[in-house]
Symmetry: C2
Subunit: 338 residues, 2 copies
């Protein structure tokens, strides 16, 4: 790990994307999203992703210029992402439904053919700070096996909620898998076994071999209920966006296939009566106080905000290889220009 | 258990409610909801509940006549349930937002001061059969402890999704607790220990004593993630409906307190392009086929529909005491009339 100053990381990441042909406004959205993941302690959704994004631009499965095409059906915005950068298409859609929800009370965006959205907490926080409620869902490449199933049939299907409060917004952002494929890779890189119950191998048998698990399937979180939840999200996203489903999904883990998963945003305007926010904050404080001295109760977002404060001041711990790759990419790009 | 013919059960349940002053239209909604739970194998949400509903009407914390009061804010319907019967207030709200969503694409109902909604699958199935998508959430009396928490701070907070398909709708209906308090009571009645990890006692210590668990707290499903999900739902419902939260919620488990939890419905019109439904059904069949011969994969709703078919033909297995109580209530009511 190297500790990198936040502004230095931002400068390098922006330069890498701009050298790949991404205009400054679009590059800023993409980089701010990745850096917010680094700040919140989610390196799996951070600078690590930049290399693949650049490869995908080179392979023409990311169009860095488009914001997608929009069609309203009532207050449901049907979005074709046209292979744009995930956050560029998503933010353009969010801006429209957020504006619409001010008068309409609620609006929905159903997005297909968009690239990876990255960490959903970034979107939830953004909308909540504007004073609106966001519910966000995505499906993704099939990595998770159904309860009793022997192969991967559903994505890690993350889900987020953002809710404005008096102070920091309430932000929940969770995948419906027990662990991420990134965590399995981490164990494989260290040649360590994974805990039992995390994954199946390629033939559908339970395994503790991280290398075998990489070719197999991750367990859903929470057994039968978590499986049902992840599947319900997959079907909901499919019904609204007409995206690909399960093993038909590509383009979230590779560098050369068009991305055909779906994303759904629901923005709800909470109205003028914001007295309730104080009651919610008191409730969350009571939840925090419901533990014991040796095991604190955390509310979703608490740990992320603690990381954030610490890293803004003291810098981001970035994997040596990731940082080295970014520097090299930048150098190669500047040589090509000379 | 006594096996009761479906129509006989319906006749007795309707008569019990009507003898308590519930008009036929309202009684029909309430009874159809309870019987649908019996049909789907969810006796905990079935005829068992009728006794408390009648007690709550007698104690004037259920007003069997009202459908609640409505106020539109854009396409968000703010509903004060005015202590009405859960399904009566809920169906009135659903009818309005469902009609609104035809043109608007999406509409939301945020309900407070309504009685217990019962099994959410009934609402999800109803809206999906009309060709619309439903997302439903409720909070409830605090029975579930936070991850690392030592006392009950959130409800069992059920969540449902209903999605129209070509054949039977997709219906997911799940609580965010590991088990229901009904299951704990079942173990207590049999004087059997509960599995470890299910519950804490009143002092916050893990227990396998079902009697101690009744005075303690149930675990969330899926550890930290399930806790976060249930808490996120509680906060979302609170932000939209201004209902009571956590230990402040009453009236879902007692017979004499006004019910102050909240309910949220989101109805989304899927538009005319229903070609996607066939693709979803093929996907769900592939999910069902992803298991092994000795352990089948079930899609949410599969088991409920199997129960339903069997029970419509062969009758409902109803607890002897529950059935005896209903008969006695009916007899007492008819004697009072004479």
């Amino acid at each position: 790990m190297t500790i990198i100053d936040f502004q230095e990381a931002r400068r390098v990441a922006l330069a890498v994307l701009e050298s790949a042909g991404v205009p400054p406004a679009q590059a800023t959205l993409q980089v701010d999203l990745l850096l917010e993941a680094e700040l919140r302690g989610r390196a799996s959704h951070g600078l690590l992703r930049l290399k693949r994004i650049v490869e995908r631009i080179r392979n023409r499965v990311v169009d860095p210029l488009t914001k997608g095409s929009h069609r309203w059906r009532g207050n449901v915005l049907e979005v074709d992402g046209c292979m744009g950068l995930g956050p560029v298409v998503a933010v353009a859609a969010l801006e429209r439904i957020s504006e619409r929800a001010v008068a309409a009370g609620v609006a929905v965006a159903a997005i297909k053919n968009n690239n990876h959205l990255g960490m959903l907490a970034w979107y939830a926080d953004r909308i909540a700070r504007q004073g609106q409620i966001l519910i966000a869902l995505c499906n993704s490449e099939a990595l998770v096996h159904p309860w009793n199933g022997r192969r991967a049939m559903q994505g890690t299907n993350p889900f987020a909620i953002g809710i404005p409060l008096v102070g920091e917004p309430f932000v929940l952002d969770m995948a419906t898998s027990l662990v991420s494929m990134g965590e399995i890779h981490h164990f494989a890189n260290l040649n360590r076994p994974i805990p039992s119950g995390w994954a199946l191998d390629a033939s559908g048998e339970p395994t503790t071999d991280a290398h075998a698990a990489k070719r197999g399937a991750i367990a859903p979180f929470g057994g039968a209920k978590g499986y049902s939840l992840g599947l319900g999200f997959e079907v909901l996203i499919g019904a609204l966006s007409a995206c690909a489903l399960g093993p038909g999904v590509h383009g979230t883990l590779d560098s050369d296939k068009a991305c055909n998963k779906g994303d759904v945003f629901i923005v709800i305007d909470p109205g003028a009566d914001q007295g309730r926010y104080g009651a919610i904050e008191s409730y969350l404080d009571a939840v925090r106080a419901s533990g014991s001295p040796d095991a604190a109760v955390q509310v979703p977002g608490d740990r992320a905000l603690a990381y954030r404060r610490e890293r803004l001041t003291h810098g981001l711990p970035v994997d040596d290889q990731v940082w080295h790759d970014l520097q090299r990419q930048l150098l190669a790009a500047s040589c090509q220009r000379d």
